[in-house]
Subunit: 235 residues, 2 copies
Amino acid sequence: MQNGQTYLWKGFRPMNERLRKGTSLKDELNNLCESLTPKRYTKGEIIYQAGDLDDSVYFIKTGKVKLAYLDESGRKLTLNILGEGEILGEMSLVGEKRRELMAQALQESRIYSINSARFLNFLEERPWLTLELIALFGQRTREIEHKLEDLVFKDIPTRLSRQLLRLISEHGEETAEGTEIDFKITHKELADLIGSARENTTSALNRLAREGILDKHRYRIIVKDAERLKEKSSP
Amino acid sequence: MQNGQTYLWKGFRPMNERLRKGTSLKDELNNLCESLTPKRYTKGEIIYQAGDLDDSVYFIKTGKVKLAYLDESGRKLTLNILGEGEILGEMSLVGEKRRELMAQALQESRIYSINSARFLNFLEERPWLTLELIALFGQRTREIEHKLEDLVFKDIPTRLSRQLLRLISEHGEETAEGTEIDFKITHKELADLIGSARENTTSALNRLAREGILDKHRYRIIVKDAERLKEKSSP
């Protein structure tokens, strides 16, 4: 593409050049948001709860956001962790009036809120962004399918290895020791991501640490040997 | 909407009339396919396998198609059962070259195959269909999320009740006795839909039959008391 522009959705490959003549969704959203003030959320602050009436699309300027499902008895499953330049709440674009998931800031974050009618007008004026938006929905579907596949077919150590590989691919920062997950994550949060109990997740993490595959201290995780982690992820 | 047109995606509510001035995706696809000959698949025939290179979008003229994930050891999880007027293989629109799922005809079916480049041209000439297509992807994401939610938080009888409610809502036919699932479904296929063993699914089905909530004979299932099934689905 022209001018080294970045695309919002990993894995997005423009297939139809006629539909892809303009700038990328991320660039256009940055332009749109220039005139807006992002809201500041503190660590742990709720952006929306399941059941909330909320007609906005959110665009993350800085920070990390957890999307999770909470069941009636308070058990939690984390579906995704999103970072800078990513969108959430996009289901309001297709007529979903109430939130089905909860969104929570995992660290201090600055987030733009765009009314869905405004977002749709913005899209209408930039039809070349459509495919990229469709690709976003497609990618979200695949991510959830992979999680489902893990839950049905994989044991906890395998699920943990696969989740850690996803985290370093989406939120990894290269350091001298290896690839570090670039935000603080508790064992409970990791457990919620793989649909497991905290205790089992801690044991599986300790095993990986003993084998020299990762290092962990104070909610920081550094993957030192991604190759061996990959082997563990498809036993 | 005008002229009583039908929309392909349940739950789709046009939010932005400016984007929704034309006919529906289903109507337009029917027009597009008028000049094409659908391929005939026999019961059990594979449409595509995971790993296949396949650049098409499929549009079901008649029949039922199962979308499933198979793991290396042959265990299966059915993600969805699609019927007349529904689309599959839409991930080829966003650059996915290899199939991740398997698609199999559950009964004799006639299915149109549309090259993805052609489908994208078709969309480009009908920009008002975009939102409906985005809604399709959104709906698929929600369906998978609900399945994930079931697998993590619900026991097998609850999962079965929820699955049966989905089946009669999407594939139900009203009869004098109740709502019948309009295709033959084996206990194994139901088990694959709820991520359970066949034996446990049969016991849970038998319990519902004894309680007078459903009738089953020869792969046919009739839900006689949807209200009580609903109670069972949120215990």
